[in-house]
């Protein structure tokens, strides 16, 4: 389906600036901060930036970059001093839009794993679902506790040239970054308490407490007997810091696949005193690796028999297996239709226009205009499997053109949206850089959005790639109280 293609005027217009108006005056909600920065002076800011880096270093806030080394390289989390501020009115729109989206996507998931009305009614093409890498036939007709599939989502938002928020990706599998949202706040508060004095900033540090309640809510033995574990692939995973962080904050066990065993469709932890029953697994490994009996048989990261235990209702898995089909980048284009279909509402948050490569007309257009497009593999994330048209070489474009022609269902394309910019303190200068926003949504007894999120910054001048694996940094994100 070809949605409205972006007009060329918008593409050449200046990206939206979060901090300044067009006349380089700070926007109202940045004025107190701007005054403060001017009074503070260069030397003190440089000192603060250094302190912030040290704080991240000694607290061991790191992420791992996969490279030539088998074990990956541990890096200190890059953090920019100047916080991003979101006024209350802006946030309430975002919050409503995110809740609407997550509610509809859960109804969509329940539907496609049961009666598939959405396909029969012609809203979403059957082949799009069936050919999706993350559609799991194995889990059809299973009823997860309370019909929740996406307990945790991290939806990526960007702003177009008019400052309008658009959804770039719905991350519904194992979105990461929430620990950095919290660490950013802790460090910002320690380093720049005087910034806070001039604003009423909403708190974010209760996220793990919210998450714990949502997980307890799913326990087959009732919430007072809930044995909860965070399932990690292990110390070499890029997000291992976050896995440790969440387990520690919630006070639950951090386990690897080999720490668990299933017997008679019940999952147990291997402890020094024998087996201990597990009720809820917050897994941070992909579906493919979850259960060697059900999915990839060579996986050593998962637990054999876990899917059967889940099917039998003896354990809850978070997010539910198969949820990834709802954030497939080809399904993404249909989310506005999905919202309308299940909720009878117009979507509050808009999508980025998306070209389906399985559609001949879209495909021809994209292949002719690749240097203006972002091409993405539908089931990849983290900035992998992506072509940034404007900065690509002819040979890279040719390579992606081959991929698209060979396997059209596996690719989509979007016009390049010039992400909004913000002031950053870099090497002694205030400079503007592009950024996005990932708020975190928890679906427990109710749907809740923690007021804040992870703001990721493309630290390289002019770059639109914000992923930390590819030179991205981050900012503390302030949602203001009324």
């Amino acid at each position: 389906m070809l949605q409205t293609s972006s007009n060329s005027a918008a593409q050449s217009a200046m990206p939206y600036h979060e901090f300044y108006r067009d006349n380089f005056e700070p926007r109202n909600h940045y004025r107190p901060m701007w005054e403060h920065i001017r009074r503070t002076g260069q030397n003190e800011l440089a000192e603060k930036a250094h302190e912030a880096h040290l704080a991240m270093h000694t607290d061991g806030v790191t992420f791992t970059v996969y490279g030539d080394h088998e074990e990956g390289i541990e890096r200190v989390w890059p953090f920019d001093l100047i916080p991003r501020v979101i006024p209350a009115s802006e946030w309430s729109q975002l919050e409503a839009g995110l809740k609407q989206r997550v509610r509809a996507l859960n109804m969509f998931l329940k539907d496609i794993y049961h009666g598939q009305r959405v396909i029969k009614d012609g809203v979403v093409p059957a082949e799009l679902v069936y050919e999706g890498k993350d559609f799991r036939r194995e889990i059809r007709d299973i009823d997860p506790p309370h019909d929740i599939y996406t307990h945790i989502s991290g939806v990526d938002l960007i702003r177009n040239v008019d400052g309008r928020y658009l959804v770039l990706e719905d991350n519904l599998r194992t979105p990461s970054g929430v620990s950095y949202m919290i660490e950013n706040r802790i460090v910002e508060r320690r380093i720049l308490p005087e910034f806070f004095a001039q604003y009423r900033v909403r708190r974010v540090e209760h996220y793990p407490a919210l998450l714990l309640q949502a997980l307890r809510h799913l326990s087959p033995r009732g919430k007072d007997q809930a044995e909860i574990v965070v399932l990690t692939p292990g110390i070499y995973n890029s997000a291992y810091f976050e896995h440790t962080f969440l387990a520690k904050e919630m006070g639950v066990e951090l386990a690897e696949g080999r720490d668990m065993v299933t017997k008679n469709n019940v999952v147990y932890l291997k402890t020094t005193h024998g087996l201990r029953r597990v009720d809820v697994i917050y897994r941070r490994i992909d579906d493919d690796f979850l259960d060697p009996l059900c999915f990839r048989s060579e996986s050593v990261l998962g637990v054999a028999g876990i899917i059967n235990a889940w099917r039998a209702g003896n354990v809850a898995i978070v997010n539910a297996p198969g949820a990834g089909i709802a954030d497939d980048k080809a399904v993404y284009a249909y989310v506005p239709d999905i919202i309308r279909y299940y909720l009878g509402e117009n979507s509050i948050l808009q999508n980025v226009p998306t070209y389906q490569m399985s559609n001949a007309e879209d495909r021809a257009f994209v292949l002719d205009n690749m240097e203006k497009m972002v091409v993405k593999a539908v089931a990849e994330s983290g900035g992998y499997g992506m072509l940034m048209g404007p900065s690509s070489s002819p040979s890279q474009r040719a390579e992606f053109a081959r991929h698209i022609t060979r396997d059209p269902r596996n690719y989509i394309a979007q016009p390049v949206i010039p992400l909004s910019r913000h002031v950053c303190y870099l090497d002694g200068e205030l400079e503007s850089r592009h950024l996005d926003l990932r708020p975190f949504i928890i679906y427990g007894e109710d749907i809740e959005v923690v007021p804040g999120g992870l703001t990721r910054v493309a630290l390289t001048k002019g770059s639109l790639v914000v992923n930390s694996s590819q030179g991205g940094g981050s900012k503390d994100t302030w949602v203001l109280a009324e």
Binding site: G60, I235, T244, A247, K248, E253, L254, A255, E256, R258, D259, V261, Y268, L269, K270, T271, T272, H273, G274, L275, R276, R277
Partner: protein, 325 residues
């Protein structure tokens, strides 16, 4: 607690204790040989060290011959990556296990271990020269002491701590017995001498390698008699490197961890180990034969280690029913 985490706590502590003992033995041997009046040939001076670590075969294999030379032995025991018992290898194992249990140990412990490893890794990139070795071993012993100190002062006394104690004291008892066995064999071929004062320096070196020299001299004033040394190193309840002291700490740890087994291997292994020390005197040990006694003791240590494996680290294999905690 998770079996995997318990296993890692245990091996972190064991490997670190091994690092400490390796540094101690090499250090004392070097120091002693500086002034040795007896013209022992180089191989005879260094062979016993390989014996203590049971590394003779590995040494010969790595070097292509069994020719024992000082610098080779030092390098083999300190920095040889192909020697799983080298100081370097042991510290790497300790640090890897610390990374696994990072959320169970204090931040200070993790930081100390990490710094220690990074510094040793950097330092041993080049061959360790014999004249520089004592300084390095001193650093190593200080770092291990720092880590133990931080453990005592910052770590919760829960199950993970008990597994730490088990690893620490089991390895220490193991090394003390082996050191005594090899040294004794070398220093006192004639059993009739057990009640007479023997070579002050050689036996002094043995006691020094166990940090026991001063304490020993305060307690015994009849010169260095083998019978007193054996009594002190094996049976002295207040000396923190004696076998009796170590086994006592292991027993405390096992009691704190507890077990819900009906057929408890660890309980049996504990009883057998204690029996080696109860109602014993140095004289009865010599009557039985010190070497035979220590061989028995080491077998009981091995059995205890195996019992830990089956009762705790692989407890799930035997578990048909789930337990409450």
């Amino acid at each position: 607690m998770l079996s995997r985490i318990a296993d890692s706590m245990y091996w972190m502590a064991r490997s670190l204790e091994r690092v400490d003992n390796t540094a101690r033995l090499l250090d004392i041997n070097l120091l002693y040989l500086l002034e040795a009046e007896d013209a022992l040939a180089e191989p005879a001076q260094w062979q016993p060290l390989l014996g203590i670590f049971r590394s003779e075969d590995n040494y010969a294999e790595i070097h292509g011959d069994a020719d024992i030379r000082r610098d080779r032995v030092i390098r083999f025991m300190t920095q040889e990556k192909k020697n799983p018992g080298s100081l370097y290898s042991s510290l790497r194992v300790a640090r890897e296990n610390a990374r696994v249990v990072r959320d169970r140990i204090s931040f200070e412990m993790w930081e100390a271990m990490n710094e220690f490893w990074l510094e040793v890794d950097r330092h041993l990139k080049r061959p360790l020269r014999a004249e520089k070795a004592p300084e390095f071993f001193g650093y190593v012993r200080n770092q291990v002491a720092r880590f133990h100190g931080l453990t005592m002062n910052t770590m919760m006394r829960g199950e993970p701590f008990s597994f730490y104690m088990l690893g620490n004291f089991l390895e220490r008892a193991d090394m003390t017995s082996r050191t005594l066995d090899v040294k004794y064999h070398m220093l006192l071929p004639d059993a009739s001498m057990i009640g007479s004062p023997v070579d002050y320096y050689q036996w002094g070196a043995l006691l020094k390698s166990l940090s026991a020299f001063d304490a020993f001299r305060r307690q015994y004033h009849a010169g260095l008699r083998p019978i007193d040394v054996v009594e002190f190193v094996i049976l002295e309840p207040e000396f923190p490197r004696s076998l009796r002291f170590g086994v006592g700490r292991m027993e405390q740890a096992v009691q704190r961890i507890g077990t819900n087994r009906v057929e408890c291997e660890i309980c049996q292994a504990m009883v057998a180990l204690k029996k080696q020390l109860e109602e014993r005197t140095a004289l009865s040990i010599f009557d039985y034969g010190l070497h035979e006694y220590l061989t028995d003791f080491l077998e009981h240590i091995d059995a205890f280690n195996n019992a830990l494996q089956s009762d705790y680290f692989e407890a799930y294999l035997a578990a048909d029913v789930e337990c409450a905690t």
